[in-house]
Protein backbone atom coordinates (compact mmCIF):
# COMPACT_ATOMS: atom_id res chain seq x y z
CA UNK A 1 0.00 0.00 0.00
CA UNK A 2 2.73 2.40 0.98
CA UNK A 3 4.64 1.65 -2.19
CA UNK A 4 1.61 2.39 -4.35
CA UNK A 5 1.12 5.77 -2.72
CA UNK A 6 4.83 6.52 -3.23
CA UNK A 7 4.57 5.58 -6.87
CA UNK A 8 1.45 7.66 -7.46
CA UNK A 9 3.07 10.55 -5.60
CA UNK A 10 6.11 10.12 -7.84
CA UNK A 11 3.92 10.24 -10.93
CA UNK A 12 2.22 13.41 -9.73
CA UNK A 13 5.56 15.07 -9.04
CA UNK A 14 7.11 13.64 -12.20
CA UNK A 15 4.41 14.99 -14.50
CA UNK A 16 5.16 18.49 -13.25
CA UNK A 17 8.91 17.95 -13.68
CA UNK A 18 8.22 16.64 -17.16
CA UNK A 19 6.29 19.75 -18.12
CA UNK A 20 8.98 21.98 -16.62
CA UNK A 21 11.67 20.26 -18.68
CA UNK A 22 9.50 20.05 -21.79
CA UNK A 23 10.02 23.68 -22.77
CA UNK A 24 13.79 23.36 -22.34
CA UNK A 25 13.86 20.32 -24.55
CA UNK A 26 11.54 21.95 -27.07
CA UNK A 27 13.72 25.05 -27.40
CA UNK A 28 16.79 22.88 -27.83
CA UNK A 29 15.00 20.87 -30.50
CA UNK A 30 13.97 23.92 -32.49
CA UNK A 31 17.21 25.90 -32.39
CA UNK A 32 19.87 23.86 -30.51
CA UNK A 33 20.07 26.48 -27.77
CA UNK A 34 20.46 25.36 -24.18
CA UNK A 35 18.36 27.83 -22.29
CA UNK A 36 19.78 28.15 -18.78
CA UNK A 37 17.25 30.90 -18.10
CA UNK A 38 14.40 28.41 -18.52
CA UNK A 39 13.91 27.94 -14.78
CA UNK A 40 13.83 31.71 -14.40
CA UNK A 41 10.92 31.85 -16.83
CA UNK A 42 9.23 29.32 -14.58
CA UNK A 43 10.00 31.45 -11.55
CA UNK A 44 8.70 34.59 -13.24
CA UNK A 45 5.48 32.87 -14.25
CA UNK A 46 5.01 31.55 -10.73
CA UNK A 47 5.31 35.11 -9.47
CA UNK A 48 2.88 36.43 -12.10
CA UNK A 49 0.37 33.80 -11.01
CA UNK A 50 0.98 34.70 -7.40
CA UNK A 51 0.52 38.45 -7.92
CA UNK A 52 -2.63 37.90 -10.00
CA UNK A 53 -4.03 35.75 -7.23
CA UNK A 54 -2.84 38.08 -4.48
CA UNK A 55 -3.97 41.41 -5.88
CA UNK A 56 -6.79 40.59 -8.29
CA UNK A 57 -8.04 37.40 -6.63
CA UNK A 58 -7.84 35.56 -9.92
CA UNK A 59 -8.13 31.80 -9.65
CA UNK A 60 -4.56 30.47 -10.07
CA UNK A 61 -5.71 27.94 -12.63
CA UNK A 62 -7.25 30.69 -14.76
CA UNK A 63 -4.11 32.76 -14.18
CA UNK A 64 -2.23 30.23 -16.29
CA UNK A 65 -3.59 31.92 -19.40
CA UNK A 66 -2.44 35.50 -18.69
CA UNK A 67 0.91 34.33 -17.31
CA UNK A 68 1.43 32.16 -20.39
CA UNK A 69 0.64 35.13 -22.58
CA UNK A 70 3.01 37.45 -20.68
CA UNK A 71 5.88 34.96 -20.74
CA UNK A 72 5.24 34.27 -24.43
CA UNK A 73 5.56 37.97 -25.26
CA UNK A 74 8.56 38.27 -22.94
CA UNK A 75 10.29 35.34 -24.66
CA UNK A 76 9.63 36.78 -28.09
CA UNK A 77 11.15 40.06 -26.97
CA UNK A 78 14.22 38.24 -25.63
CA UNK A 79 14.46 36.24 -28.83
CA UNK A 80 14.28 39.31 -31.03
CA UNK A 81 16.79 41.35 -29.03
CA UNK A 82 19.27 38.73 -27.87
CA UNK A 83 18.85 35.08 -28.76
CA UNK A 84 18.36 35.62 -32.45
CA UNK A 85 21.94 36.91 -32.78
CA UNK A 86 23.52 33.71 -31.55
CA UNK A 87 21.35 31.02 -33.14
CA UNK A 88 23.62 28.66 -35.04
CA UNK A 89 26.76 29.69 -33.16
CA UNK A 90 28.56 27.41 -30.73
CA UNK A 91 26.39 25.90 -28.01
CA UNK A 92 28.71 27.28 -25.35
CA UNK A 93 27.93 30.82 -26.50
CA UNK A 94 24.24 30.24 -25.96
CA UNK A 95 25.00 28.62 -22.62
CA UNK A 96 26.94 31.64 -21.35
CA UNK A 97 24.44 34.08 -22.81
CA UNK A 98 21.39 32.45 -21.27
CA UNK A 99 23.32 32.03 -18.02
CA UNK A 100 23.71 35.82 -18.08
CA UNK A 101 19.98 36.26 -18.68
CA UNK A 102 19.31 33.86 -15.83
CA UNK A 103 21.56 35.77 -13.41
CA UNK A 104 19.89 39.00 -14.41
CA UNK A 105 16.42 37.56 -13.89
CA UNK A 106 16.91 36.00 -10.46
CA UNK A 107 18.59 39.07 -9.14
CA UNK A 108 15.84 41.17 -10.64
CA UNK A 109 13.35 38.99 -8.81
CA UNK A 110 15.33 39.29 -5.60
CA UNK A 111 15.33 43.08 -5.80
CA UNK A 112 11.74 43.64 -6.87
CA UNK A 113 9.91 40.65 -5.41
CA UNK A 114 12.13 40.38 -2.28
CA UNK A 115 13.39 37.00 -1.16
CA UNK A 116 10.37 36.19 1.03
CA UNK A 117 8.91 32.72 0.53
CA UNK A 118 5.40 32.99 -0.84
CA UNK A 119 2.73 30.46 -1.54
CA UNK A 120 -0.83 30.32 -2.80
CA UNK A 121 -3.46 28.66 -0.65
CA UNK A 122 -5.53 26.97 -3.31
CA UNK A 123 -7.50 23.71 -3.19
CA UNK A 124 -5.63 22.49 -0.14
CA UNK A 125 -7.94 19.54 0.35
CA UNK A 126 -7.04 16.00 -0.52
CA UNK A 127 -8.78 12.99 -1.96
CA UNK A 128 -8.39 9.44 -0.83
CA UNK A 129 -7.45 6.80 -3.31
CA UNK A 130 -6.45 3.20 -2.62
CA UNK A 131 -6.30 3.93 1.04
CA UNK A 132 -3.91 6.86 0.89
CA UNK A 133 -4.51 10.58 0.56
CA UNK A 134 -3.36 12.74 -2.31
CA UNK A 135 -3.45 16.53 -2.26
CA UNK A 136 -6.08 18.01 -4.54
CA UNK A 137 -3.76 20.60 -6.11
CA UNK A 138 -1.38 17.91 -7.32
CA UNK A 139 -4.21 16.05 -9.01
CA UNK A 140 -5.32 19.28 -10.71
CA UNK A 141 -1.74 19.84 -11.80
CA UNK A 142 -1.57 16.36 -13.34
CA UNK A 143 -4.79 17.00 -15.29
CA UNK A 144 -3.53 20.33 -16.59
CA UNK A 145 -0.16 18.85 -17.57
CA UNK A 146 -1.98 16.18 -19.58
CA UNK A 147 -4.16 18.79 -21.29
CA UNK A 148 -1.19 21.01 -22.15
CA UNK A 149 0.89 18.15 -23.52
CA UNK A 150 -2.11 16.96 -25.58
CA UNK A 151 -2.61 20.46 -26.96
CA UNK A 152 1.10 20.78 -27.74
CA UNK A 153 1.18 17.48 -29.62
CA UNK A 154 -1.97 18.39 -31.55
CA UNK A 155 -0.50 21.78 -32.34
CA UNK A 156 2.74 20.27 -33.62
CA UNK A 157 0.92 17.60 -35.61
CA UNK A 158 -1.90 19.45 -37.30
CA UNK A 159 -1.37 23.19 -37.45
CA UNK A 160 0.67 24.92 -40.11
CA UNK A 161 3.04 26.59 -37.64
CA UNK A 162 3.43 23.31 -35.76
CA UNK A 163 4.45 21.51 -38.93
CA UNK A 164 6.84 24.34 -39.76
CA UNK A 165 8.36 24.06 -36.27
CA UNK A 166 8.94 20.36 -36.80
CA UNK A 167 10.46 21.04 -40.20
CA UNK A 168 12.83 23.67 -38.79
CA UNK A 169 13.89 21.41 -35.96
CA UNK A 170 14.61 18.56 -38.36
CA UNK A 171 16.51 20.56 -40.93
CA UNK A 172 16.59 24.35 -40.91
CA UNK A 173 18.35 24.56 -44.27
CA UNK A 174 15.81 22.53 -46.18
CA UNK A 175 12.96 24.19 -44.30
CA UNK A 176 14.22 27.58 -45.36
CA UNK A 177 14.48 26.47 -49.01
CA UNK A 178 10.90 25.20 -48.85
CA UNK A 179 9.72 28.69 -48.10
CA UNK A 180 9.50 28.56 -44.31
CA UNK A 181 10.55 31.74 -42.55
CA UNK A 182 13.04 30.07 -40.21
CA UNK A 183 13.63 33.24 -38.18
CA UNK A 184 9.93 33.62 -37.45
CA UNK A 185 9.38 29.94 -36.70
CA UNK A 186 12.27 29.93 -34.25
CA UNK A 187 10.78 32.97 -32.62
CA UNK A 188 7.48 31.12 -32.18
CA UNK A 189 9.39 28.09 -30.98
CA UNK A 190 11.18 30.11 -28.31
CA UNK A 191 7.89 31.71 -27.30
CA UNK A 192 6.15 28.34 -27.03
CA UNK A 193 9.02 26.96 -24.98
CA UNK A 194 8.57 29.94 -22.66
CA UNK A 195 4.82 29.32 -22.62
CA UNK A 196 5.40 25.75 -21.47
CA UNK A 197 7.65 27.09 -18.72
CA UNK A 198 4.87 29.50 -17.78
CA UNK A 199 2.33 26.70 -17.31
CA UNK A 200 4.84 24.80 -15.20
CA UNK A 201 5.44 27.97 -13.19
CA UNK A 202 1.75 28.51 -12.47
CA UNK A 203 1.34 24.89 -11.43
CA UNK A 204 4.39 25.13 -9.18
CA UNK A 205 2.93 28.25 -7.59
CA UNK A 206 -0.13 26.34 -6.32
CA UNK A 207 1.94 23.47 -4.90
CA UNK A 208 5.25 24.73 -3.59
CA UNK A 209 6.40 27.92 -2.01
CA UNK A 210 8.04 30.27 -4.47
CA UNK A 211 11.12 32.43 -4.02
CA UNK A 212 13.55 34.15 -6.39
CA UNK A 213 16.25 31.48 -6.08
CA UNK A 214 13.96 28.55 -6.85
CA UNK A 215 15.38 28.43 -10.36
CA UNK A 216 18.78 27.11 -9.27
CA UNK A 217 17.37 23.83 -8.04
CA UNK A 218 14.84 23.61 -10.81
CA UNK A 219 17.20 24.15 -13.71
CA UNK A 220 19.35 21.30 -12.47
CA UNK A 221 16.33 19.02 -12.35
CA UNK A 222 15.30 20.15 -15.83
CA UNK A 223 18.81 19.43 -17.13
CA UNK A 224 18.79 16.01 -15.51
CA UNK A 225 15.40 15.20 -17.01
CA UNK A 226 16.39 16.40 -20.44
CA UNK A 227 19.63 14.44 -20.20
CA UNK A 228 17.75 11.28 -19.28
CA UNK A 229 15.11 11.75 -21.96
CA UNK A 230 17.45 12.90 -24.70
CA UNK A 231 17.88 16.53 -25.75
CA UNK A 232 15.10 17.79 -27.97
CA UNK A 233 12.62 15.01 -27.35
CA UNK A 234 9.28 15.87 -25.72
CA UNK A 235 8.17 12.31 -24.88
CA UNK A 236 11.66 11.80 -23.53
CA UNK A 237 11.30 14.86 -21.30
CA UNK A 238 8.01 13.57 -19.90
CA UNK A 239 9.42 10.11 -19.26
CA UNK A 240 12.56 11.60 -17.76
CA UNK A 241 10.41 13.78 -15.52
CA UNK A 242 8.47 10.78 -14.29
CA UNK A 243 11.67 8.82 -13.67
CA UNK A 244 13.13 11.68 -11.65
CA UNK A 245 9.85 12.20 -9.78
CA UNK A 246 9.69 8.53 -8.84
CA UNK A 247 13.35 8.41 -7.89
CA UNK A 248 13.03 11.48 -5.68
CA UNK A 249 9.89 10.25 -4.00
CA UNK A 250 11.38 6.86 -3.28
CA UNK A 251 14.59 8.53 -2.13
CA UNK A 252 12.70 10.82 0.24
CA UNK A 253 10.71 7.94 1.66
CA UNK A 254 13.49 5.43 2.21
CA UNK A 255 16.51 7.70 2.52
CA UNK A 256 16.25 11.33 3.53
CA UNK A 257 14.86 14.48 2.03
CA UNK A 258 18.15 16.35 1.57
CA UNK A 259 19.76 13.41 -0.12
CA UNK A 260 16.79 13.04 -2.48
CA UNK A 261 17.90 16.31 -4.04
CA UNK A 262 21.30 14.80 -4.81
CA UNK A 263 19.57 12.31 -7.12
CA UNK A 264 19.07 14.87 -9.90
CA UNK A 265 22.73 15.91 -10.27
CA UNK A 266 23.80 12.31 -9.85
CA UNK A 267 21.48 11.10 -12.61
CA UNK A 268 22.57 14.01 -14.79
CA UNK A 269 26.27 13.22 -14.55
CA UNK A 270 25.75 9.47 -14.87
CA UNK A 271 23.67 9.86 -18.04
CA UNK A 272 26.16 12.31 -19.51
CA UNK A 273 29.00 9.90 -18.89
CA UNK A 274 27.35 6.61 -19.75
CA UNK A 275 24.71 7.49 -22.31
CA UNK A 276 25.07 11.07 -23.58
CA UNK A 277 22.23 10.73 -26.09
CA UNK A 278 19.81 10.00 -23.25
CA UNK A 279 18.07 6.79 -22.28
CA UNK A 280 15.53 7.00 -25.06
CA UNK A 281 16.89 9.62 -27.40
CA UNK A 282 18.78 8.82 -30.50
CA UNK A 283 18.94 11.87 -32.70
CA UNK A 284 15.33 12.34 -31.76
CA UNK A 285 13.85 15.76 -32.24
CA UNK A 286 10.58 17.57 -31.57
CA UNK A 287 7.97 15.17 -32.85
Amino acid sequence: MELISIIIGGLLLGSLYGLAACGLSFIFGVMTIINVAHAEFIMLSAYITFWLWFFLKINPILAIIPSMFIIFIFCILIYRTVINRIVGEMQLTSLILTFGISIFMWNFAQVFFTSTFRSIAYSTGSISFLGSFFPMNKIISLIIVSIIIGLLQAFLKWTKIGKAIRAVSQNPGVASISGIDVYKIRMYGFGIGGGLAAVAGSLIAIQWSIFPLMGADLILKCFAIVAIGGLGSIPGALLGGIILGLAENIGTMYWDATMANVIAPLLLILTFLLRPQGLFGYEERVD
Partner: protein, 327 residues
Protein backbone atom coordinates in the same frame (compact mmCIF):
# COMPACT_ATOMS: atom_id res chain seq x y z
CA UNK B 1 61.25 43.06 -49.00
CA UNK B 2 63.89 45.53 -47.87
CA UNK B 3 61.27 48.17 -47.17
CA UNK B 4 59.46 45.74 -45.04
CA UNK B 5 62.52 44.98 -42.92
CA UNK B 6 63.16 48.68 -42.47
CA UNK B 7 59.57 49.18 -41.44
CA UNK B 8 59.85 46.30 -39.04
CA UNK B 9 63.01 47.58 -37.43
CA UNK B 10 61.45 51.01 -37.03
CA UNK B 11 58.47 49.49 -35.37
CA UNK B 12 60.66 47.40 -33.11
CA UNK B 13 62.55 50.47 -31.98
CA UNK B 14 59.32 52.29 -31.30
CA UNK B 15 58.00 49.39 -29.27
CA UNK B 16 61.30 49.20 -27.41
CA UNK B 17 61.07 52.89 -26.60
CA UNK B 18 57.54 52.43 -25.40
CA UNK B 19 58.39 49.35 -23.38
CA UNK B 20 60.60 51.39 -21.01
CA UNK B 21 57.50 53.26 -19.92
CA UNK B 22 55.59 50.02 -19.70
CA UNK B 23 58.25 48.54 -17.41
CA UNK B 24 58.28 51.64 -15.24
CA UNK B 25 54.53 51.68 -14.89
CA UNK B 26 54.47 47.95 -14.20
CA UNK B 27 57.02 48.40 -11.42
CA UNK B 28 54.96 51.25 -10.04
CA UNK B 29 51.73 49.22 -10.19
CA UNK B 30 53.37 46.23 -8.54
CA UNK B 31 55.06 48.32 -5.86
CA UNK B 32 52.10 50.53 -5.06
CA UNK B 33 49.88 47.96 -3.29
CA UNK B 34 52.72 47.04 -0.93
CA UNK B 35 52.54 50.38 0.84
CA UNK B 36 48.75 50.68 0.77
CA UNK B 37 48.06 49.16 4.23
CA UNK B 38 50.36 51.75 5.78
CA UNK B 39 49.14 54.85 4.00
CA UNK B 40 45.48 54.25 3.18
CA UNK B 41 42.39 53.52 5.23
CA UNK B 42 41.30 50.02 6.19
CA UNK B 43 38.41 50.35 3.74
CA UNK B 44 40.68 50.92 0.74
CA UNK B 45 42.94 48.10 1.83
CA UNK B 46 39.99 45.74 2.08
CA UNK B 47 38.76 46.75 -1.38
CA UNK B 48 42.21 46.03 -2.75
CA UNK B 49 42.26 42.73 -0.87
CA UNK B 50 39.01 41.79 -2.59
CA UNK B 51 40.53 42.86 -5.89
CA UNK B 52 43.49 40.49 -5.39
CA UNK B 53 41.12 37.70 -4.43
CA UNK B 54 39.16 38.33 -7.60
CA UNK B 55 42.31 38.43 -9.74
CA UNK B 56 43.33 35.08 -8.27
CA UNK B 57 39.92 33.56 -8.93
CA UNK B 58 39.74 34.99 -12.43
CA UNK B 59 43.25 33.83 -13.35
CA UNK B 60 42.46 30.39 -12.01
CA UNK B 61 39.25 30.17 -14.00
CA UNK B 62 41.00 31.51 -17.08
CA UNK B 63 43.77 28.91 -16.97
CA UNK B 64 41.22 26.17 -17.51
CA UNK B 65 38.34 27.81 -19.30
CA UNK B 66 39.98 30.67 -21.15
CA UNK B 67 42.85 28.62 -22.55
CA UNK B 68 41.08 25.37 -23.37
CA UNK B 69 37.58 26.73 -23.99
CA UNK B 70 36.04 24.30 -21.50
CA UNK B 71 33.67 26.57 -19.59
CA UNK B 72 33.62 25.59 -15.94
CA UNK B 73 30.34 26.47 -14.24
CA UNK B 74 31.38 24.62 -11.09
CA UNK B 75 34.42 26.67 -10.14
CA UNK B 76 33.23 27.47 -6.62
CA UNK B 77 33.38 23.74 -5.95
CA UNK B 78 37.13 24.12 -5.48
CA UNK B 79 36.71 27.23 -3.38
CA UNK B 80 34.32 25.44 -1.07
CA UNK B 81 36.35 22.28 -0.73
CA UNK B 82 39.56 24.20 -0.11
CA UNK B 83 37.77 26.43 2.39
CA UNK B 84 36.56 23.46 4.37
CA UNK B 85 39.93 21.72 4.21
CA UNK B 86 41.81 24.80 5.41
CA UNK B 87 39.40 25.54 8.25
CA UNK B 88 39.27 21.94 9.41
CA UNK B 89 43.05 21.61 9.24
CA UNK B 90 43.48 24.65 11.44
CA UNK B 91 40.60 24.24 13.87
CA UNK B 92 40.67 20.48 14.35
CA UNK B 93 44.28 19.60 13.64
CA UNK B 94 46.01 22.81 14.60
CA UNK B 95 48.00 23.28 11.42
CA UNK B 96 49.76 26.59 10.86
CA UNK B 97 47.64 28.83 8.59
CA UNK B 98 49.97 29.31 5.61
CA UNK B 99 50.55 25.57 5.44
CA UNK B 100 46.81 24.94 5.71
CA UNK B 101 46.20 27.38 2.86
CA UNK B 102 48.74 25.63 0.70
CA UNK B 103 47.41 22.18 1.59
CA UNK B 104 43.88 23.28 0.81
CA UNK B 105 45.03 24.38 -2.64
CA UNK B 106 46.68 20.99 -3.06
CA UNK B 107 43.53 19.20 -1.94
CA UNK B 108 41.46 21.22 -4.42
CA UNK B 109 43.83 20.11 -7.17
CA UNK B 110 43.59 16.49 -6.06
CA UNK B 111 39.80 16.77 -6.27
CA UNK B 112 40.19 18.41 -9.66
CA UNK B 113 42.45 15.61 -10.83
CA UNK B 114 39.93 12.93 -9.88
CA UNK B 115 37.01 14.91 -11.26
CA UNK B 116 38.96 15.78 -14.37
CA UNK B 117 39.54 12.13 -15.21
CA UNK B 118 35.78 11.61 -15.07
CA UNK B 119 34.33 14.91 -16.22
CA UNK B 120 36.78 15.93 -18.93
CA UNK B 121 35.52 13.13 -21.10
CA UNK B 122 32.51 15.37 -21.62
CA UNK B 123 32.59 17.89 -24.41
CA UNK B 124 31.73 21.60 -24.42
CA UNK B 125 28.33 22.33 -22.98
CA UNK B 126 28.02 18.87 -21.45
CA UNK B 127 31.09 19.62 -19.33
CA UNK B 128 29.69 23.02 -18.33
CA UNK B 129 26.33 21.62 -17.25
CA UNK B 130 27.96 18.60 -15.61
CA UNK B 131 30.18 20.86 -13.51
CA UNK B 132 27.19 22.98 -12.49
CA UNK B 133 25.42 19.79 -11.43
CA UNK B 134 28.47 18.66 -9.47
CA UNK B 135 28.70 22.00 -7.70
CA UNK B 136 25.08 21.92 -6.56
CA UNK B 137 25.27 18.21 -5.73
CA UNK B 138 28.38 18.52 -3.59
CA UNK B 139 26.97 21.60 -1.90
CA UNK B 140 23.97 19.49 -0.89
CA UNK B 141 26.28 16.72 0.26
CA UNK B 142 28.05 19.16 2.58
CA UNK B 143 24.75 20.18 4.17
CA UNK B 144 23.72 16.56 4.73
CA UNK B 145 24.08 14.64 7.94
CA UNK B 146 26.57 12.19 6.41
CA UNK B 147 29.38 14.71 6.35
CA UNK B 148 28.16 16.48 9.49
CA UNK B 149 30.89 15.09 11.81
CA UNK B 150 33.45 16.88 9.64
CA UNK B 151 31.50 19.86 8.35
CA UNK B 152 29.18 20.46 11.33
CA UNK B 153 26.20 20.18 9.01
CA UNK B 154 24.38 22.86 7.07
CA UNK B 155 24.69 25.63 9.64
CA UNK B 156 28.44 25.83 9.42
CA UNK B 157 30.58 27.29 12.15
CA UNK B 158 32.43 30.48 12.94
CA UNK B 159 36.15 30.46 13.65
CA UNK B 160 38.78 32.95 14.67
CA UNK B 161 41.67 33.51 12.34
CA UNK B 162 45.00 33.73 14.11
CA UNK B 163 46.29 35.79 11.20
CA UNK B 164 46.20 39.58 10.92
CA UNK B 165 44.52 41.31 8.03
CA UNK B 166 47.87 42.48 6.68
CA UNK B 167 49.10 38.91 6.35
CA UNK B 168 45.98 37.98 4.42
CA UNK B 169 46.36 41.11 2.31
CA UNK B 170 49.94 40.34 1.34
CA UNK B 171 49.19 36.67 0.78
CA UNK B 172 46.33 37.55 -1.54
CA UNK B 173 48.55 40.04 -3.32
CA UNK B 174 51.33 37.50 -3.69
CA UNK B 175 48.91 34.92 -5.08
CA UNK B 176 47.40 37.43 -7.50
CA UNK B 177 50.92 38.16 -8.80
CA UNK B 178 51.84 34.48 -8.83
CA UNK B 179 48.71 33.44 -10.71
CA UNK B 180 49.29 36.12 -13.32
CA UNK B 181 52.92 35.06 -13.62
CA UNK B 182 51.96 31.38 -13.98
CA UNK B 183 49.35 32.34 -16.55
CA UNK B 184 52.09 34.19 -18.48
CA UNK B 185 54.42 31.22 -18.15
CA UNK B 186 51.76 28.86 -19.42
CA UNK B 187 50.80 30.94 -22.41
CA UNK B 188 54.44 31.30 -23.52
CA UNK B 189 55.17 27.60 -23.11
CA UNK B 190 54.54 24.62 -25.35
CA UNK B 191 51.91 23.53 -22.86
CA UNK B 192 50.00 26.80 -23.39
CA UNK B 193 50.19 26.39 -27.14
CA UNK B 194 48.72 22.92 -26.75
CA UNK B 195 45.88 24.29 -24.64
CA UNK B 196 45.11 26.94 -27.25
CA UNK B 197 45.17 24.25 -29.92
CA UNK B 198 42.62 22.28 -27.90
CA UNK B 199 40.44 25.37 -27.71
CA UNK B 200 40.58 25.99 -31.43
CA UNK B 201 40.02 22.44 -32.61
CA UNK B 202 40.21 19.52 -30.25
CA UNK B 203 40.10 16.80 -32.92
CA UNK B 204 42.84 18.44 -34.94
CA UNK B 205 44.96 18.90 -31.81
CA UNK B 206 44.53 15.23 -30.97
CA UNK B 207 45.35 14.15 -34.49
CA UNK B 208 48.73 15.89 -34.48
CA UNK B 209 49.77 13.98 -31.41
CA UNK B 210 48.77 16.21 -28.50
CA UNK B 211 47.59 14.21 -25.52
CA UNK B 212 44.37 16.16 -25.28
CA UNK B 213 42.96 14.60 -22.10
CA UNK B 214 46.23 14.87 -20.18
CA UNK B 215 46.70 18.53 -21.04
CA UNK B 216 43.13 19.37 -20.14
CA UNK B 217 43.52 17.61 -16.80
CA UNK B 218 46.76 19.48 -16.02
CA UNK B 219 45.10 22.80 -16.82
CA UNK B 220 42.13 21.81 -14.68
CA UNK B 221 44.41 20.91 -11.76
CA UNK B 222 46.31 24.22 -11.96
CA UNK B 223 43.04 26.11 -12.21
CA UNK B 224 41.66 24.31 -9.16
CA UNK B 225 44.88 24.94 -7.22
CA UNK B 226 44.52 28.69 -7.58
CA UNK B 227 40.80 28.55 -6.97
CA UNK B 228 41.41 26.62 -3.77
CA UNK B 229 44.36 28.68 -2.57
CA UNK B 230 42.56 31.97 -3.04
CA UNK B 231 39.33 30.47 -1.74
CA UNK B 232 40.90 29.44 1.56
CA UNK B 233 42.24 32.95 2.15
CA UNK B 234 38.91 34.41 1.16
CA UNK B 235 37.07 32.17 3.61
CA UNK B 236 39.59 32.95 6.33
CA UNK B 237 38.74 36.61 5.75
CA UNK B 238 35.03 35.87 6.17
CA UNK B 239 35.58 34.23 9.61
CA UNK B 240 32.69 31.89 8.99
CA UNK B 241 32.08 28.82 6.90
CA UNK B 242 28.86 27.14 5.86
CA UNK B 243 28.02 25.23 2.67
CA UNK B 244 25.94 27.96 1.04
CA UNK B 245 28.56 30.67 1.31
CA UNK B 246 31.53 28.37 0.72
CA UNK B 247 30.07 26.83 -2.44
CA UNK B 248 28.26 30.01 -3.42
CA UNK B 249 27.70 30.15 -7.17
CA UNK B 250 28.40 33.88 -6.88
CA UNK B 251 32.12 33.06 -6.91
CA UNK B 252 31.66 31.12 -10.10
CA UNK B 253 29.80 33.95 -11.79
CA UNK B 254 32.22 36.67 -10.74
CA UNK B 255 35.37 35.13 -12.30
CA UNK B 256 33.44 34.23 -15.45
CA UNK B 257 32.21 37.78 -15.96
CA UNK B 258 35.64 39.20 -15.13
CA UNK B 259 37.42 36.96 -17.61
CA UNK B 260 34.81 37.54 -20.30
CA UNK B 261 35.13 41.27 -19.77
CA UNK B 262 38.93 41.38 -19.84
CA UNK B 263 39.48 38.75 -22.49
CA UNK B 264 39.34 34.97 -22.15
CA UNK B 265 42.57 33.18 -22.92
CA UNK B 266 44.77 36.22 -22.32
CA UNK B 267 47.22 36.96 -19.51
CA UNK B 268 46.06 40.46 -18.61
CA UNK B 269 42.37 39.99 -19.42
CA UNK B 270 41.43 38.57 -16.01
CA UNK B 271 43.40 41.35 -14.27
CA UNK B 272 41.67 44.09 -16.25
CA UNK B 273 38.28 42.47 -15.81
CA UNK B 274 38.83 42.12 -12.07
CA UNK B 275 40.04 45.71 -11.79
CA UNK B 276 37.02 47.14 -13.56
CA UNK B 277 34.39 44.94 -11.97
CA UNK B 278 35.71 45.17 -8.41
CA UNK B 279 35.57 48.94 -8.45
CA UNK B 280 32.27 49.04 -10.32
CA UNK B 281 30.85 46.57 -7.83
CA UNK B 282 32.17 48.54 -4.88
CA UNK B 283 30.55 51.68 -6.25
CA UNK B 284 27.25 49.97 -7.06
CA UNK B 285 27.21 48.05 -3.82
CA UNK B 286 27.44 51.24 -1.80
CA UNK B 287 24.68 52.91 -3.82
CA UNK B 288 22.31 50.11 -4.80
CA UNK B 289 22.97 47.34 -2.31
CA UNK B 290 20.77 44.77 -3.98
CA UNK B 291 20.89 45.59 -7.64
CA UNK B 292 24.58 45.08 -8.32
CA UNK B 293 24.28 41.39 -9.13
CA UNK B 294 21.87 42.27 -11.91
CA UNK B 295 24.74 44.15 -13.51
CA UNK B 296 26.74 40.91 -13.76
CA UNK B 297 24.00 39.23 -15.75
CA UNK B 298 23.60 42.26 -17.94
CA UNK B 299 27.35 42.63 -18.55
CA UNK B 300 27.57 38.93 -19.41
CA UNK B 301 24.85 39.22 -22.06
CA UNK B 302 26.31 42.39 -23.56
CA UNK B 303 29.82 40.91 -23.66
CA UNK B 304 28.76 37.70 -25.38
CA UNK B 305 26.80 39.66 -27.97
CA UNK B 306 28.98 42.67 -28.65
CA UNK B 307 32.55 42.05 -27.46
CA UNK B 308 33.01 38.27 -27.47
CA UNK B 309 36.80 38.53 -27.15
CA UNK B 310 36.74 40.94 -24.21
CA UNK B 311 38.57 44.23 -23.86
CA UNK B 312 42.02 42.86 -24.71
CA UNK B 313 40.86 41.27 -27.96
CA UNK B 314 38.94 44.41 -28.84
CA UNK B 315 42.01 46.58 -28.34
CA UNK B 316 44.13 44.13 -30.33
CA UNK B 317 41.69 44.20 -33.23
CA UNK B 318 41.65 47.98 -33.24
CA UNK B 319 45.44 48.07 -33.32
CA UNK B 320 45.86 49.60 -29.86
CA UNK B 321 47.72 46.56 -28.60
CA UNK B 322 50.16 44.34 -30.46
CA UNK B 323 48.69 41.02 -31.51
CA UNK B 324 50.89 38.84 -29.34
CA UNK B 325 49.98 36.07 -26.98
CA UNK B 326 51.85 37.49 -23.99
CA UNK B 327 49.33 40.29 -23.38
Amino acid sequence: MRDLTILNSNKKQKIHHRSVWIYLSVIFIIGFPIVIPYIASVYIASVLFLLFICIGYAQGWNIMSGFTGYVNFGYSLFIGIAGYVSVILVIDLGVWWPIAWFLSGVSASIVAFVLGIIMLRLRGSYFAIGMLALLLGIQLLFTSKYLAPITRGGYGFPFIVPVSFNVMYYSAYLIALLSTFISYKIITSRFGAKLLAIREDEEAAGSIGINVTMNKIIAFVISAFFGGLVGSIHIAFQNYIEPHSAFNIHWTIVPIVMVLLGGPGTVWGPVIGALILTFVEEFLWSHFTQAYMMIYGFVMVVLVLLVPGGIIEWLKNRGKLPKIRTI
